[in-house]
């Protein structure tokens, strides 16, 4: 085995000539005789052929993609700040033949898990016959008693599972843990793939790397086949944006073209599960849940859950909805099961596990307890019920028999807590190359692989989600649990693979599989996103108008500046700051709304909004009032219109877009009515008309249309009544009327909805006005009437 002290190998490409694998564990790149493994030769040759600059650029492209796409993980207890996903640029490469063997072994394991969980929620023969200790089940918080005796609608408990695997010292694969609750990571694997393709664009095409799209298509088709024959749909149930893997939920929903739903979007009505949409409640019969079961129904499961749907268990019990995976299947994740699966395989399948799992002993048995005690130095001892991945030490776990943190005696602890503990053998895992300091360096790794039940049986995703240790010192599996990086996994065939992709091209990324089904919550967020973005824009224009006048203003102020100061103050805009906090807050509100409907935006639109937020934050530190601030507002205005442009140019013109547009028009009409009421009067401060025209971004139009200096009549005509000026109130009332008339339920059998009637009334009122009749009191009334539309929209569509 090659050691670190070895001289450079002349028989290897120069990029790996001094790559030194760690002693005692296999390496994915190099075989035992120190040669590059066949599956890797092409990639290594490719990397070897690049200049150092080309290599860095290639790797940077992948990282850039993830940053632009906004890929992040949110970590609990970490200030809730999203952090970049650290991608190691070198994929982990596996030969297709070996992957096939792994797939067969894991399919057997998935079948075994299915039999076990079906028994635990059914006849309970395994316990009755003594193959599983009753207390392991009874004390397990994931054994959900309200689900005992409930048969899943699809006939299966498991449809999508993940396995954490690692290669042991003997070169074979070990299962480190089973993920059966709501495994995450498949979406990240997809994103990592997109990133690694960016790094190796030309190379990837001819590299015989198995594509991932086929796996997802088969899984999606499998889900669609589970729908009931009543026009019902498939949805993805997410705990929402505060969850650490929300990004992935939104990404997968967009990728598969499925509705992304939160518990609040769903309601149980006459025993059926329905999604609340702007077109009324619609049936759902398949839910791919990314929510832990205990949170799914506050009525019968965890009462404190605000993430679930009250009464969900009713339709589940009545087999009206298939949960992917069945509620309660998470019990299989507890560490204790790893102690019994080898035996259960012999009992249920009549043969040993095809892929062994990490050696585990349940301390409830006397002999097992003694074994754990005698071998504690080579084990992790921890909670039997913990669903944390094996070898991810959690609070109270004891590593290598070191009791110093606990203040307890090992023997006494094992005796007292026996039934609640397991011992797990510490294993060393293989290494794979990462790129560090300009060269390839080995890092211990493990891979999460995904398996879906399709119409042709279990399918293993030809790829996965690899995690690499932060350092190369400690090859034990434990070292991989914190820090480190992730990598794409390539399964390489000997023969060319067909092209395959489900991804839309950038620029047309807003995907809706089923127009007409817009969940009310999503509509609400889009409406408010439209409002907040427009509000921020208005605040920027007002700030710019003030700041650009500031240098010419005498110390005593002018009546216009004094009036403007009062107005800005009323709006909460503090002009002692160059970029005031209020603008930052409004943008934060927009980002928050957008975040809740992330599945509905293109990568570009999202990147531009994130860029706006970053720019405002950094400007707030440096920009000072005056010209500097006026210029800064110019930059921000270009950025925010960039976002609006991307959204309005790219978004599919259906209900979602309509709510966004209505929000924007409503906000703009209100803002303009407010501005005109304050500055559009004859007796207002001098320069008020010009201010209105400037803030209304209509300087050029005004000059062309009227060829005179601004007067009250020209200003009110252009900014309130002219239906052709996209800044006028009339224009936006037209827009609202048009969009509202196209929403579901705008009229029922010819009878207008309350909302339609209210919009029509405003429209009619405004049409008969002239600049002379539309005075300040009328503008104030108009502003109020438009404001009230929010309540009508809320009542009809969003509550």
């Amino acid at each position: 085995m090659p050691g670190p002290a070895m001289a450079p190998r002349k028989d290897r490409p120069s990029i790996v000539s001094d790559y030194a694998a760690l002693p005692g564990v296999p390496d994915e790149l190099l075989s035992e005789d120190g040669r590059v493994r066949p599956a890797w030769t092409k990639l290594i040759a490719h990397l070897d052929g690049l200049s150092p600059e080309e290599r860095e650029r290639a790797f940077a492209r992948g990282a850039q993609y993830l940053r632009d796409a906004g890929v992040f993980v949110r970590q609990y207890g970490d200030g809730k700040s999203p952090r970049d996903w650290p991608l190691s640029p070198v994929p982990v490469i596996q030969p297709e033949a070996e992957w096939q063997a792994l797939a067969e072994g894991l399919a057997e394991r998935a079948d075994l898990l299915e039999s076990v969980v079906a028994d635990l929620y059914g006849e309970n023969r395994l316990v009755a016959e003594g193959h599983l200790p009753a207390s392991v089940i009874a004390s397990n918080p994931e054994w959900l008693r309200p689900l005992v005796g409930v048969k899943p609608a699809s006939g299966h408990f498991l449809h999508f599972v993940a396995f954490e695997i690692g290669r042991g010292p003997d070169g074979g694969w070990w299962v480190l843990g089973d993920r059966t609750q709501a495994p995450s990571g498949a979406g990240y694997a997809l994103e990592n793939r997109v990133a690694s393709v960016r790094s190796f664009p030309g190379f990837y095409t001819d590299s015989h790397v198995e594509r991932l799209a086929g796996f997802f298509r088969a899984f999606r088709d499998g889900l669609n086949a589970l729908r009931r024959e009543d026009g019902s749909r498939v949805g993805i149930l997410t705990p929402g944006p505060m969850n650490d893997t929300y990004f992935e939920h939104a990404y997968i929903a967009r990728y598969l073209g499925m509705m992304l739903l939160e518990g609040d979007d769903l309601v149980v009505d006459q025993g059926r599960l329905m999604v609340r949409t702007v077109s009324g409640p619609k049936p759902i019969s398949v839910l791919w849940r990314r929510l832990d079961a205990a949170w799914a129904d506050p009525l019968e499961l965890k009462a404190s859950s605000h993430l679930g749907t009250p009464g969900l268990l009713g339709p589940v019990r009545a087999q009206g909805v298939t949960m992917i995976n069945a509620l309660g299947a998470g019990i299989l994740e507890s560490r204790a099961f790893l102690a019994f699966l080898p035996r259960l395989s012999r009992v249920l399948h009549g043969k040993p596990l095809a892929i062994p799992n990490i050696a585990t002993w349940w301390c409830g048995g006397e002999a097992e307890r003694a074994h754990v005690r005698d071998n504690a130095h080579a084990m992790l001892i921890g909670s039997a019920n913990s669903t944390r991945l094996p070898l991810e030490p959690d609070a109270g776990a004891v590593l290598k028999g070191d009791m110093s943190q606990t203040g307890l005696d090992l023997d006494a602890w094992l005796e007292a807590e026996s039934r609640n503990l397991v011992g797990q053998e510490l294993v060393s895992l293989s290494t794979t190359p990462t790129w560090q300091d300009g060269k390839l360096t080995p890092r211990p790794m493990r891979i999460r692989v995904f398996m879906a039940r399709t119409r042709d049986g279990w399918q293993l995703m030809p790829g996965g989600f690899a995690r690499l240790a932060a350092t190369g010192q400690d090859p034990s599996a434990v070292s991989i649990s914190s820090g480190g990086s992730v990598a794409d996994v390539w399964v390489v065939s000997d023969t060319p693979v067909p092209e395959d992709s489900m991804l839309m091209q950038p620029g047309e990324v807003f995907v809706r599989a089923s127009p007409g089904l817009l969940p009310s919550r999503a509509a609400d967020n889009l409406f408010w996103l439209g409002r907040y973005v427009e509000r921020a824009e208005g605040q920027m224009r007002l700030t710019r108008a003030y700041m650009s006048r500031l240098p010419e203003t005498p110390a005593a102020g002018t009546p216009l500046m004094t009036a403007l100061e009062t107005y800005l103050d009323d709006l909460g805009l503090d002009m002692s700051e160059g970029v005031c906090r209020k603008v930052e807050r409004t943008i934060a509100l927009a980002v928050n709304s957008a975040n809740q409907v992330r599945d509905r935006f293109s990568v570009d639109a999202w990147a531009s909004l994130a860029d706006l937020e970053r720019t405002v934050a950094s400007m707030r530190k440096t920009v000072v009032p005056g010209e500097d601030a006026a210029a800064a507002m110019g930059v921000l205005l270009r950025k925010i219109t960039g976002f609006s442009g991307l959204v309005h140019e790219n978004m599919y013109r259906f209900s979602g877009w309509r709510f966004l547009t209505i929000g924007r028009s409503l906000e703009r009409a209100i803002g303009m009515a407010d501005l005109l009421a304050r500055f559009g009067e004859w007796n207002g401060p001098q320069g008020g008309f010009e201010l209105c025209v400037e803030v209304g971004d209509s300087v050029m139009t005004h000059r062309r249309r009227y060829s005179v200096t601004a007067s009250r009549d020209t200003v009110v005509d252009l900014l309130a009544l002219d239906p052709l000026n996209p800044r006028s109130i009339a224009f936006h009332i037209d827009e609202i009327r048009e969009q509202v008339s196209l929403l579901p339920g705008a009229d029922v059998n010819g009878q207008l909805s309350d909302l339609s009637r209210a919009v029509l009334r405003i429209h009619a009122d405004l049409s008969v006005h002239t600049p002379q009749t539309l005075g300040q009191p009328e503008l104030v009334e108009l502003e109020k009437a438009i404001g009230r539309l929010t309540g009508d929209i809320q009542a009809q569509y969003l509550d």
Binding site: E129, A134, P141, Q270, P298, L299, P310, G311
Partner: protein, 296 residues
């Protein structure tokens, strides 16, 4: 002993509730050799859009309700006639702790009344170090389980002050224990935690108490609302016994069982989820009247 039971629960909302879904555990349970339900009915006002009566995992009767129309109050009325035919005091000698542990290890039953459900932590009965230390101090080794139950219950009763105002449904048992006061729920949860810490299976019983005591007896605490006490598994011979730590007695013919669970969360009289913007107030009235002293 035959009783007529009437329970009235009122909910009043500050602003109308748009939708509500609730599970009720209020109907007395039929238990062989302990109590018999002669008649029972639950009346709900306004009429729910959906009502379903079924059994839960532990074999309790429950009623699930859904309201779709906005409503500003709900009234639930239970009426039942029940014969209490036996007490829940230990009827035979019980084993000591090591023997109990061996009996538990031999259990392979996961049915509704298996003692194994009642050993692990549950939402309202998480382990509390101070309670475990206290339990150890007040349970001398070698004693039969039933004696440990009675001893701990009496000690708890002496140390705790019954105070209807001191705690709410959401007060953790640890807090009630630290200040040594609370209501029947707190007494019950503390005792459950204590017993489980010793390896003794202990559950939560929700039920009714006879409102007025028999002539010459003292009135029991907790008779004005639904009451709670502890059920304890004392080995395969003795089986389940019930102990009321609020009154320091084994449950007798004045205790009428509604539901068994691991703790309050499993058997709350009304468990529900609704969409309301304002607050709510609840009132509960219980009347348990003996019908005919001579009925067996």
């Amino acid at each position: 002993m035959r009783y007529d039971i009437k329970l009235t629960i009122d909910y009043i909302y500050e602003s109308p509730a748009a939708g509500a879904r609730q599970i009720l555990h209020v109907m007395p349970l039929a238990i062989e050799g302990r109590q018999r339900v002669i008649a029972g009915s639950i009346h709900i006002e306004p009429k729910p859009a959906m009502r379903q009566d079924r059994r839960d995992f532990f074999g309790n009767d429950l009623t699930e309700l859904a309201f779709t129309e906005p409503h500003s109050d709900i009234t639930i009325v239970l009426k039942a006639r029940v014969d209490v035919t036996g007490s829940a005091a230990p009827g035979s000698p019980s084993p000591d702790l090591p023997e109990l542990a061996r009996a538990l290890d031999a259990q392979t039953d996961l049915g509704p009344r298996s003692p194994l459900h009642f050993l692990a932590a549950s939402p309202y009965a998480e382990p509390v170090r101070e309670i475990a230390v206290w339990a150890r101090r007040h349970s001398p080794p070698g004693r039969p389980v039933a004696d440990i139950v009675a001893g701990l219950g009496l000690t708890l009763h002496r140390e705790m002050r019954f105070d209807a105002e001191a705690t709410t449904v959401s007060t953790p048992a640890a807090e009630a224990f630290a200040s040594r006061h609370g209501v029947c729920q707190d007494f019950t949860h503390i005792m459950i935690i204590a017993l489980r810490s010793l390896g003794i299976p202990a559950g939560y019983v929700s039920g009714y108490l006879r409102t007025l005591p028999p002539p010459g007896k003292e009135r029991l605490e907790g008779a004005d609302a639904m009451h709670a006490w502890v059920s304890v598994w004392c080995g395969p011979e003795t089986g389940w016994v019930e102990y009321d730590p609020t009154n320091a007695v084994f449950a007798g013919d004045g205790h009428i069982v509604v539901a068994h669970g691991r703790d309050y969360a499993d058997v709350a009289p009304v468990r529900g989820a609704m969409r309301i913007s304002g607050g709510q107030t609840t009132d509960q009235f219980v009347d348990v009247v003996p019908v005919n002293e001579t009925v067996a």
